[in-house]
Symmetry: C2
Subunit: 208 residues, 2 copies
Amino acid sequence: MATSLPQPVQRLIDTLSRLPGIGPKMAARLAIHLLSRPARERTELTDALTALSLEVHTCPRCGYLSTGELCDICTDTSRTRSICVVQGPLDVVALERSGSFRGLYHVLGGVLSPLDGIGPEELRIASLVTRVQELLADTNSGAVEVLLATNPSLEGEATALYIQRALANLENDQLSITRIARGLPVGSDIEYADPATLTRALEGRSNL
Amino acid sequence: MATSLPQPVQRLIDTLSRLPGIGPKMAARLAIHLLSRPARERTELTDALTALSLEVHTCPRCGYLSTGELCDICTDTSRTRSICVVQGPLDVVALERSGSFRGLYHVLGGVLSPLDGIGPEELRIASLVTRVQELLADTNSGAVEVLLATNPSLEGEATALYIQRALANLENDQLSITRIARGLPVGSDIEYADPATLTRALEGRSNL
């Protein structure tokens, strides 16, 4: 019988193959690379993974990542009472990097996707509604904005619509619900833009 | 200041980014994926990495991977006295899978690449020469073949040539040095083949 890879190597390949975006060939190359490096580099990776499990958890208020009880954003008292609703933690990082939003976040943990069995209960939607209710009940403060920043994809739009309806029940004139603008990305060519993006760019045109 | 990812998450991203074929964006997505999964899945990965360090080493004779003293191939007494010289362990797996070679292997650990500082001393070339010498000195047996199966790339060809010259010094009529055939891959179109491959396919034509 033909000889294959030793079992511990195959086991690592199988484990790596289960990660998103890593196929069996890439997993094999990664495993052989890790084997060829000093043991210290494998230890760095295992230590980083262990630290992740021990030190990082999801902020119970907003769903972003945290090492303390609440995350750095929820504990930042300088932020406005706008809640930007996003799909995942990396969306928070991207928006923070833009430097153009100084409010709070709410991380849904995905989008509605009935085919994948992801309904409203699988996302942090109920906790968003509660959070908005509590903010509105706090008489100390004024208007509350919920900025829906799910991806401009089919599922992202459907999720934004679902949340819009869930919040509409609150019926409070202090609450405004907004959606992040869809249009031409900066630096792009109108010539190459897809029809759906152009439609959004035209619909969203503003006065100069 | 804008909030970024918690330090343990950033640390895992940095560690993953150093792996070949994984850029910073993919590393971030992998880290967030690993965070979103049950701790058990992270433990599977750390356990597989730890097992790799503890259980797998390089076969001191041929350079392939092994969990015992010598690898499964070197200890397989049914194999012929052909030594197939390859760049890495995954080449062994591919050739074994073909089922068309039943000899031994010698894993160089790379190819000659002066620009990357990889000279003959960085590869298992001296040990190959010694191994061939010992096989030839063993009077019990007949001819020895060294089949050079480095990649048909610039570096692979140069490495094959270098080894051919190193072995030519042994001057023994029991030793034959061969090179794996270069030509059209099975299932390919002559129409789309590159000129270098066609040249090799023509040079290597055989009588029917």
